[in-house]
Every structure is written in C-alpha cells, then in structure tokens.
Symmetry: C2
Subunit: 419 residues, 2 copies
C-alpha cells in the first residue's frame, strides 16, 4: 500500500485523557480511534493487526477440529435464566437493552448459554460427540471504569471456543489438545517465550484448576509465580502449599512476576449442559451428562498487551507475524532513478506476497518518514537513495536494531524470508 492512499496520519501529541501506553501509542500512530472510555474503533492499520491475530488463532483452532460459527450480540433472557446468569445481582457487568414491546435483552458478554442452546437440535447421541465450536467476535462488559486502553475494554474482540465431551477422560484430552494449540498461538504471535500456562482458580462449581495464559509485562494486573524451567506458573490468588503440591511445583524454583492474562481455559464440568438440558444417549441407551470446557483468547487485548510489552522510546514494536506491514519502503528524495528503483522494488515485493507500505509522500523529510516507521512499529525499514543506488543496493534496518546494512535486492529478499 502507498502511504498516500492511507488516510491516517501520525501525531507527536499524547492524546488527552489516555493513561494507558497502548492506547496512547495506538492513537498517535493512527491504529485506533477512541469512541469513549473502553470503546475503540479500529482504523485501517489497527484492523490489519487485529485480522492478523484473528487469522493465527483461527488456523490453530481449525487445526484441532474447531468448527467456526458466529453467535449474536442480542441475547434473549430465557436461556440465561436457566443458569441464573441474567440477573444483574448475579452477573454485574451486563449491558442490557429492550425490544419495542419492553422485553429485556442482554448484549452478549459471553456465549456459553446460547452455544449450548444452539447445539440442542444437533447433539443427542454418543455418535454426535466429541465436538468443539468457536467464534471470533465482539464481547461487551459494562465495566465501572475503563482506563487500560484496549487491554480491558467495554467492547472488545474475543475468540471463545466451547468443547463438548462424553466423559471426563475425553474432556481432558480435548482440554490438553487446546492447551497445546494455545502454546502454538502464543509462539506464532511472538510472545511464546514469556507466556506461561498458569494454574488459577477453577471457579465455584469445580475443584479443578483453570489455566490462565499469562505473559510477563510491567503493566500486568496479575502477580504470578513462575517456574521457568518447567514453563509453568501459579497465580498468586491460589499460591498455597497445598496447591503447589498438587501442581508439582516447589517454592524455591518460583520467581514472582507481573503479567497480563492473554487467554484462559476452563473446565466447566456439566454445569451449562445440564442446566440447558443438553444430554446424550450412550451406547447402552442411557442418558448421560456432557462435559464442557471453554477456551478464551482476548484478540484485541493481545494487541494491547503486545504494544505494552515491546514498545520503546520510538514507539510501537510489532512482532513480524502480526505487523500491519512487514516492510516500510522509503525513497529519499525525488530523483527520477531513485523513484523508478523504488517503484520496481515495491512491485517486486508485492509480487512476492510481502506486505509493504511505501511511504511515497513527496512533501515529507526522510527523518520524519523514519520516525513514522518507528512509531508505527513496522518490523523492517528499507531505504532507497542516490547513495544506495550507486551500489545497486538498499539500506536495511530492523525496527529492533540500531545497525543499518547495505543489501542487494536478493540479499534483502533472503533476509526478509528468514525473519
């Protein structure tokens, strides 16, 4: 894409009323627009990052047999009353709305109940199980305060998967398969090295632990104790000797860290399936409960967490896999040969399927273009100038390095393919 075809601009001014670094930088770089506290629109650059994260999550959910669907924002109260979760006294962060006839509706804050309800026509026999369904879409939580940018929004994008198994052993298998997929997702997103599967409270209806995925971050709201060798952690909330024994962890191997939750997986037992009357008939004709799990990943939250985790003095630093563009291509000056060389390189990169942003603005100094590329967090910067042209080369710099290299086009292509 040419920069002149992108309507957003960067800003040097920290936006008023934003205390969170992620929102400050994402607004300054033109990724998001604040509608109100905790509610942000995604501008073209922001949407590209969001879609890149979604696609990685989608591929890994599909790889373990997850079937994608899309539930609704508007929620009828009847399914929620079966689990007693419609009452504001029980669930205190609903947004509610009303039909013309006064009927109260919920605005989707999670989707266990409607997903179970939607399966009723399709699940009745042992032959129909196991199965997993997931969606990637908006969620709404009526938070009292919202000051964390896209880290904790009132409206946000989430992937939620729900698994349905015939018995505990089958559930455990689905659960661990999903846990393995989560590890792959964080690796692909570029935060795998510092993201820990973390034992946490399982909720009031199970004695099992749930698993949070916590990524180390100075702005984290959570405190966890990490066993770096075992790549496991335990949340401070359940940090007791008894639980350490259950988990096979030792106090002396653990380091206290601040972290941000970037996913969680929960055993749900048969709480929701029983309440909504979803059972199956086994091989012997007996009615049996269905064991569920649920598996969340905050897609927009991860985008915010990654900004917080990697940003430096110059701005955002995106991992390559989710960057809106892999390369920012900059021509210095408007010398005819420089421009011609740049256009050819731009086309060549596009043909190779490399997502490249060509900063083709003519009234902007090179230094300003460099600063913009850094603020926007584009992983690779490629500069064409009269000087590089004399060597039939380009100047290359990685966002995370101070070193500049003079590379031929072939060397550049090899370098980019390897990163």
């Amino acid at each position: 894409m040419k920069r002149t075809e992108l309507f957003t601009k960067t800003s040097k001014t920290t936006p008023a009323g934003e205390v969170a670094k992620n929102a400050q930088l994402l607004i300054r770089a033109g990724y998001i627009h604040k509608e109100m506290a905790g509610v942000y629109a995604y501008l073209p650059l922001g949407l590209r990052v969001l879609e890149n994260i979604k696609q990685i999550v989608r591929e890994e959910m599909n790889a373990i047999g997850g079937q994608e669907l899309s539930m609704t924002v508007l929620q009828p109260r009847d399914v929620w009353e079966k689990t007693n979760r419609f009452d504001d006294a029980v669930v205190d962060n609903w947004f509610k709305t009303k039909l013309k006839d006064g009927t109260e509706l919920g605005v989707g804050l999670t989707h266990e109940e409607p997903v179970v309800d939607a399966l009723i026509p399709y699940v009745s026999s042992y032959k129909d199980l196991p199965l997993s369904v997931y969606q990637i879409g908006p969620k709404f939580r009526n938070e009292l305060r919202a000051k964390s940018g896209i880290l904790r929004g009132r409206e946000f994008v989430m992937k939620d998967m729900y698994s349905f198994a015939r018995n505990q052993a089958e559930h455990d298998e689905l659960y661990e398969k999903t846990a393995a997929a989560y590890t792959k997702i964080y690796d692909r997103l570029g935060i795998g090295a510092e993201t820990y599967r973390t034992a946490a409270d399982g909720g009031y209806f199970t004695e099992r632990f749930s698993d949070e995925y916590q990524t180390l971050s100075d702005v984290g709201e959570d405190t966890i104790y990490v066993d770096k060798a075992k790549k496991l952690a335990i949340n401070k909330e359940i940090y007791t000797d008894e639980n350490l024994v259950k988990l096979g962890l030792n106090r002396q191997d653990l380091v206290e860290e601040k972290s941000v939750e970037v996913g969680n997986i929960f055993p749900l037992e048969s709480k929701y399936s029983d309440a909504l009357d979803l059972y199956y008939t086994d091989e012997r004709g007996q009615r049996q409960s269905i064991i569920m799990g649920c598996y969340g990943i905050g897609v927009s939250r991860i985008m915010g967490a990654i900004v917080e985790k990697f940003a430096d003095e110059q701005g955002i630093v995106w991992p390559v896999a989710i960057a809106p563009f892999k390369i920012c291509l900059i021509n210095v000056g408007t010398d005819e040969n420089v421009v011609k060389f740049t256009i050819n390189l731009y086309k060549k990169l596009q043909e190779k399927g490399v997502e490249v942003l060509w900063d083709d603005r003519v009234d902007v100094r090179p230094g300003e273009k460099f600063a913009d590329a850094d603020l926007m967090g584009i992983p690779h910067r490629v500069v064409v100038s009269a000087k590089t042209l004399a060597q039939n080369s380009v100047e290359y710099k990685a966002r995370t390095s101070e070193e500049t290299l003079i590379l031929t086009i072939d060397e550049l292509l090899k370098k980019i393919a390897c990163i």
Copy 2:
C-alpha cells in the same frame, strides 16, 4: 471437509414459527440458528456463505480505493446529538443501553456520525481528500416486528462505505465509481442479470435521487418499474411523469416487478460533515464543506434474498461463488475400491483448491445423501460407485439440472473450472 466433521444435520421438519422461506430452508439445512425473531446465529455452513459474500464485497470496495476499518457497536450520544439523531422521537428504531453511571448509549444502527467524527484528526486540507472508508459488521435495528428471516433482521451484517469529496463533481465521480463496483458485486454474486439500479427518493435533505439496487423476487416488498434494455428502474414511490423525464425513462418501456432491495447508495450533500464540523481548507486557504455519499450493502440480507430467489422444491440453490462448498462428493457403499477412489479424488480436489464436502457418513443411504446435498444447495454433486468405478469415472450432476453425466476425473476438473 468431511461431513462427519460437521456438527450440523439437516431436518425435514419446517421449523415452528418461521413464515419466511429463507429462514425455513436455512434452519432445515443447518445454516443458521434462531435466537429470537430477527436475530440469527450463523452456524459453520452459514458463516462460510456470509464470509464468501463479504469477501466479494471487500475486494470490490478495495479495488476502488475503499479503506477498511471497523467502527464500534456501542455509541456515545454526543456525536448523534449534533445531527439530532439520538432522540427516539426522531430515529425510532434504536436499541439503547446504559453505562453503570446511567449514561445512555446507542447500539450501532448506522455509522455516519461516528465515521465523520473519526476523520476529524485526519482531514483538514484539500490534500487529504477525496477518500472513502468502509466497514463490514453488525448493525442493530429495533424493528417492531421481524418475520422475514434474515431478509430484515433486528441484528444483521452490513457493508457501509462513506465517501468524502471536495466538491460536487468529485463526489459524482466517486458515486458513479461505486455504482460501477456495485454492478460488479451483483454479477459476481450471481444475481447481476436481474438486479437493477433503481432511482428512489433521496431523502429529505437533497433533491437528488438515491439509487437502490433491486433484485427481482416474488417475495419482494418493493414494487419497481424496469426498463430491461437500459438496465434501469424506478421505484413506485417516485413513479411520476416529472421523474421519468429527469431519468430519461418512458412509461411504455417499463415493466412492473416485485423486488428485494440488496443495496443502496445515497448522496448526503454536506449534512453530516457540516453538522460534525468536518471541513477542509482549499488551495486558497478558504474553509469548504465536504460532500459525502454513503453506500450500503446488506450482506446477510443478500444471503436471504438469494435463498428466496433461487430455491426450488428440493431446497436451497447457491450461486457457485458464494456456496459453502462447490462440490458435494458422495461414495455409494463402502466397497474398499470405491472408498479408496473417493479418498483420492477428495484429496485431489482439495489440492486444486476446490472446496469440497465429502459425505463420508457410513450409516446413511445414498438417496438421503443426495437429498441433503440438494437441500444444502451445493452446486455440483459427484458420485463414486462400483458402477462408475468400472468406467474409471464419476457421476456428475449440477444442482440446477436433472441431467447426470459420466465423467473422467480430468473431464470433471475441466467442467468445474469452467462454471
């Protein structure tokens, strides 16, 4: 995909309480799940169709320079008060909700105001224009009644684009460029032949016409007068001699038809930009109004309209471009060689990038598989049996034809590539 990996099933029973053919068939074939009147979840097959439609729309909007973004569902009242559209007495189909502190919010029913507001940091000079932005996402309309399935929902998926021009001539150019893109979209969706650009009322703040895109359909709520030679129409609402003259249409060339609106484009003059204080400074330093257009396509509505338009006694008939799968592959019997041949063909089709649903169920009769493929509306049916195997061939049938053909694999691949 293997049929045994899809959790949905088909049903012979017309769902209770559904009067619209589109909802009846889409529920029976396992495409959608009804949450409440006018609110439907998209199950895996339905989501595939929806995504296919979205992708065609997206490609054509990108091709004319549209920049994709994603606005929010939750809407703060202040921007809407600037155009006096927050008041329920003015706009009577809002869903409203509230923050914890009692602040009233809207639930996005359209996005002119927030889009204009989001552009304020980015548009100030003549150099920043023209531009077009669009999104594809959920919309919410609090309809009193909702009996038309996904043709007219309370929650539905829409593409909405907004254009911003420096003057009327530039606006007209953007408007006609978008109109041309709309024609391409309906052609690609398979409804181009019977979809007419239809002059309609422009609304209360412009004397211009708006343009509706109307596709002929017996269940249409609109009446239009069509000039088939000119590929133009006029809505009954503005069918006057004066307007016919303005449009260059003659009564004797027009045929009355029932139709469904599958898109609309509106000249907005500078109503929203002026109200929200979005102006630009021209080359001479003068402040100027910005001329806007808006361009809607009801993505889920089109899905419903296509079901209504093409369905027959056997079920849904999808145009190839949006079908969830292009081919339904069926093996008759479980003879080892038949199954082996089927698996090889399944793999070969997948390698060629053909989306194929292999009905691999072993406990289901061939007749039932054929009926399912028809109900689901899969465009091509390919059957492998001991009989076809003896000829090293398959039996091919198009969804819209009674004729069956015996084809070699090469002949089959050629046939599918051409359709």
